[in-house]
């Protein structure tokens, strides 16, 4: 009888711990999700950063209080990979469907003239509109609805500690390796179009775009983490 009582109280304590952990995680996630929505919008990123950091701080606090919350690396990778995909999507969605808006014609072409004339040279001349550089539209069509959308979905599953989230993040981050390799090869082959008459060519492009390598930082973690923790 006493063994049963001990076991019952142990289960109660575990249940309470579990419940408190879930609440703490959800509280932190609410801040981080709001922050990530702003971060993914690019221009409102400054608003999103303090919200996101507040969520991170709450999660850290819960972790220090002994609650079972998500590992910091999983949180950082999940949100950052989603934000990275959202930022890529915004720029390319503008080019795909909003190429004749004033915003796109100033922002994309200013960016193009500064770093990569793929977004300046014969812009809005193709029947489909937007960038006319060889291969650019094909990359947009391949990566926008497939890689970036899938990566955001995978990041959500990953943040929920789901097995499929981990698996699909591995897949979509490897997509990223293919995308970078193909994209850079295409740019290099048509370098005259991309970098002639550009204010800050090649090095400027690399300095600007290097921070989009988050999928590459995620991959070593995804392959070395103990994947049994993704069991939901």
């Amino acid at each position: 009888m006493s063994e049963l009582t001990t076991s019952m109280s142990g289960m109660n304590a575990l249940g309470t711990h579990d419940e408190r952990s879930r609440q703490a995680q959800w509280q932190a996630d609410k801040w981080m999700m709001s922050g990530a929505l702003f971060l993914g919008s690019a221009v409102f990123g400054i608003i999103g950063l303090p919200l996101f950091l507040r969520g991170l701080a709450l999660q850290l606090k819960a972790q220090r209080a002994g609650l079972t919350v998500r590992p910091m690396m999983v949180t950082l990778i999940g949100y950052l990979v989603a934000v990275d995909a959202a930022l890529n999507s915004i720029g390319w969605a503008l080019d795909m469907v909003a190429h004749h808006t004033l915003l796109a014609r100033v922002f994309l072409m200013a960016w193009g003239n500064m770093f990569d004339a793929g977004y300046f040279w014969h812009y809005n001349e193709l029947w489909i509109g937007g960038a006319s550089a060889p291969g650019e539209k094909a990359w947009e069509i391949a990566l926008l609805p497939l890689v970036f959308s899938m990566r955001i979905a995978a990041a959500i599953g990953f943040l929920q500690m789901k097995r499929w989230g981990h698996q699909w993040l591995v897949i979509t981050c490897w997509f990223g390796v293919v995308a970078w390799t193909g994209y850079i090869a295409n740019m290099t082959i048509f370098a005259d179009v991309r970098y002639t008459g550009v204010v800050f060519p090649v090095i400027g492009w690399w300095l600007y775009d290097i921070f989009y390598i988050t999928p590459f930082l995620a991959l070593p973690y995804l392959h070395s983490v103990n994947r049994e923790i993704f069991s939901h």
């Binding site: 221009v43 999983v74 004033l102 001349e125 008459g197």
Partner: protein, 139 residues
Amino acid sequence: MNSEPASLNETKSHQQPLPLGTTPAFAGMHKWLQRGLVVCLTALVLEGAFTFPLLAMWYGWPTLSLQEICTEFEKIRFADESRVCIYPYPLFGPAEGAGQTTAQDQWGIQPRPQYKAIGYRELIQRVAARQAAESTGVP
């Protein structure tokens, strides 16, 4: 969120608990990856927030309106001073550059554009020079 054997969660040297899912063999790598992620996060936020306003300023805003900048871009890339940036653009109209014949390129298997890079706030001088020429009647 699951618990893990204590041996996996503790380093041998300082007995400090490792994050869930991180094994001692990869602890150092995970620490550096985390630093890289924080750098990327910060850089992406700053780039996202400031690229558009800084680019707009480089090309002449607020002295020039966004539509004037758009017009100058159009004149330069199609090498045609008569072009203007139509805004709002008709929703189902043809692409603004469709069928143009004025853009200057050295055509070949590797096309090479002939326009020059635009300098810092150079568009303001272009607009001012054009307005001065118009007011004096000089073409």
